[in-house]
Symmetry: C2
Subunit: 275 residues, 2 copies
């Protein structure tokens, strides 16, 4: 099971407006899988609690399009029985989904999947769920576009506000990137460290949080890059250019260097996903 249900055809996502208004095929209640089939038994993987596993399962099913906006989940009792968990665990999972804007529960009406516009797509968990299956190329493009907007601006701010400590952390991360390659976990961690150091140098909490989310999503896509072919180019020189500009306090150069960096990453990922 778990097949992709054709997502959005590409165009209808924007601006709430319709969402619910699918002319045909009235929303149906879902979750009535019980029957004879052996219960899915989405039992928890180590570390994760039971309600967390349920939330992951349902969340992934929702963002992957298996449950569509407007659909209403079968009642708490029925669904919890179908999942073979207690009603409490199921309810706590639904609260999590509700907190992330994926569903809304009301008495008598039941629990319904909210329109895409209400989803907290920048929530780290939601992003993880979105990338746990086949990621939507259109959405990945949106993320990179956002990254291409935010990160160069962050580099500009960093060039203005960085101090010695920030620069030292960037240098350390760069050194780690040289020692390991992007093919290793340590190398990717160093890459994240570098970008985090740049973000931290902006002295802007909102930027840090936002790019943490984007960075997590981008980290997923780098897996795809690895999957399709060996890493295509040495990323260190481009990072060094960013560092040099920030260290020199050259605002324009920092923004430009970072823009180049993000563009290259997008190019790599796109060719990897489309190819």
């Amino acid at each position: 099971m778990l097949k992709v249900v054709g997502k959005d055809g590409g165009g209808e996502v924007r601006s709430m407006s319709d969402s619910m208004t699918n002319g045909d095929a009235p929303p149906e209640t879902i979750g009535d899988m019980g029957s004879d089939e052996a219960a899915p038994k989405a039992r928890r993987g180590t570390g994760r609690r039971l309600h967390g596993a349920i939330a992951h399962k349902l969340g992934a099913a929702i963002v992957s399009g298996e449950y569509r906006p407007g659909d209403t989940l079968s009642g708490e009792v029925a669904f919890s029985e179908a999942l073979d968990v207690s009603r409490s665990a199921y309810r706590e999972a639904v609260q999590v989904l509700s907190a992330k804007g994926l569903v809304e529960s009301r008495p008598k009406t039941g629990t319904r999947v909210l329109p895409r516009s209400r989803w907290n797509l920048l929530d780290p968990d939601v992003l993880a769920w979105a990338f746990s299956g086949e990621p939507d190329i259109h959405f990945v493009r949106s993320l990179f576009e956002l990254r291409a907007i935010v990160e160069p601006a962050a580099a500009r701010l960093a060039a203005e506000r960085r101090n010695k400590t920030d620069l030292k952390e960037m240098r350390d991360a760069l050194g780690a990137m040289r020692r390991h390659t992007l093919a290793t976990d340590a190398g990717r961690a160093a890459d994240r460290d570098f970008h985090n150091a740049v973000l931290a140098a902006t002295r802007n909490d909102a930027l840090v949080v936002l790019t943490a989310s984007i960075g997590a999503a981008v980290a997923w896509t780098t897996q795809f890059k690895q999957r399709s072919r060996a890493l295509p180019r040495n990323p260190v020189p481009d990072h060094v250019k960013v560092y040099d500009a920030i260290a020199a306090g050259d605002v324009e150069a920092a923004g430009e260097a970072m823009r180049l960096l993000v563009d290259l990453a997008l190019e790599d990922t796109r060719s990897a996903m489309e190819g």
Copy 2:
């Protein structure tokens, strides 16, 4: 019972200038408000469920700095009794907070407030909690800075990709802004509609979601603007400039006009908050 447990002295978050500045008083276990005082009875306001009210209460207390990172909440039983609610309701509230990255619950250790860096500060609810009390000026600055980065870029994209429907929505919103002023709810709604229309024209989901969050936060600050003095200038002409540029497909002009718009809003809000 209920004595100090505090762990990390608070230094590990680094960066982000510890906003809520209370220097002293080591982390304590909290929730021991019971005693003689009449129970706070954070009973639900209409429409909001009980666990939602608890989550709101706790969330606001956390982001306002009343409970600090590293603090550990007194146990489920104790805290739920202190709040005079069942454990189920309390637990569901904690699940919500956990989903937003504010706390983490583990057996034996209890529920602890996570460092600021793990909070989903861009979550609409978290933002609402942050602005339910006295908003942190430094954080507001961060938000406006982010807005100053994202919205002009969004306007540029909108100038490239807008279609007739997008333009019509912007015109309608502008008309509504003219009829009502920013002093009325309808006027503020029209303002949001205009910005949402611009965002929708970018065809970028991530941008839409992000700016929805920021816009919600900005809406809170406009209340502060209203509070301090009558609205200082007529915002419609500036919005019209943005519209004209987008309608003309002039990328540079659109970005510049939007930059001006955000700068003015920041200026107004800053003077209102500082004055």
